[in-house]
Symmetry: none
Subunit: 155 residues, 2 copies
């Protein structure tokens, strides 16, 4: 579940997971994934079902009167899309128009899928390269001061 992949999305905004991750999905009995917005950068996060259960449970239980927490709830929970996933099959995922817009991949026919161990990120190639070479993005959100309640969470 690691590493960089440049993959295509078809006209219907579908992409398929690289086959090299298949065994990991099967071994961990994952049959759904969740795709949602990244709160920090114009990119998307893809969680395994089990990972998502933990994150969403924890995040939704937090005190929403804190504006930072509420923003995270909106962004992460409010845009999540659950997708049934058959690891023995083609492992295809649909990206909604709204998520494509957020990640600035409306016009693109290729995306970058980055394996981060327990999750994946989806980036527009230019944004990704700029970020990796130390450049900053117009839309990034810097210096979030995290409330104590989420210091131990990893999104």
């Amino acid at each position: 579940m690691f590493g960089f992949n440049n993959i295509s999305i078809d006209k219907k905004s579908r992409f398929s997971f690289p086959a090299k991750y298949r065994d990991a999905f099967i071994n961990s009995n994952e049959n759904q994934i969740v795709i949602t917005k990244d709160p920090q950068y114009p990119s998307l996060k893809v969680y395994l079902g089990s990972e998502w259960d933990q994150i969403s449970t924890k995040l939704s239980s937090l005190q929403g009167l804190d504006p930072i927490v509420r923003n995270l709830q909106w962004t992460i929970l409010g845009n999540a899309s659950v997708c049934d996933f058959e690891p023995s099959g083609r492992m295809q995922v649909l990206i909604s128009a709204d998520l494509k817009k957020y990640a600035q991949i409306e016009e693109a026919n290729r995306i970058c899928l980055i394996g981060m161990g327990n999750k994946f990120e989806i980036w527009n190639q230019e944004n990704w390269e700029q970020r990796q070479t130390g450049g900053s993005l117009a839309t990034e959100i810097l210096d979030i001061v995290l409330p104590e309640s989420i210091k131990d969470m990893s999104f």
Copy 2:
């Protein structure tokens, strides 16, 4: 698992581990290695499977909203490539175009593989020599201020 090796990479960007390390791999039941970017210098890191499990688990559990942590996650986890050894016992490793570029070995047909005990490093020969003689590299990243959460980690 120590020492300096100057070895060749072929047209398909593969290299094979010096045979002198083979017994050590077999004895420790390692059947895969992971190759990824070094966060500090234009070079690559090669971890044994078991070592990688520890590092990646710890690193992916950290709070990704911290920009330094997220950069390390991107660099180390997001560029990792897992590689199984050949059934015949030969230990061949493919270096992706992206990793070659990062380590500045795009045009090279030889690399330096440095055994560091529990991991290896891969360098472009000129960079390695310059670094060993105290010279500085144009692209190195100095003085990372590490957050408390990763002070005890060794990459």
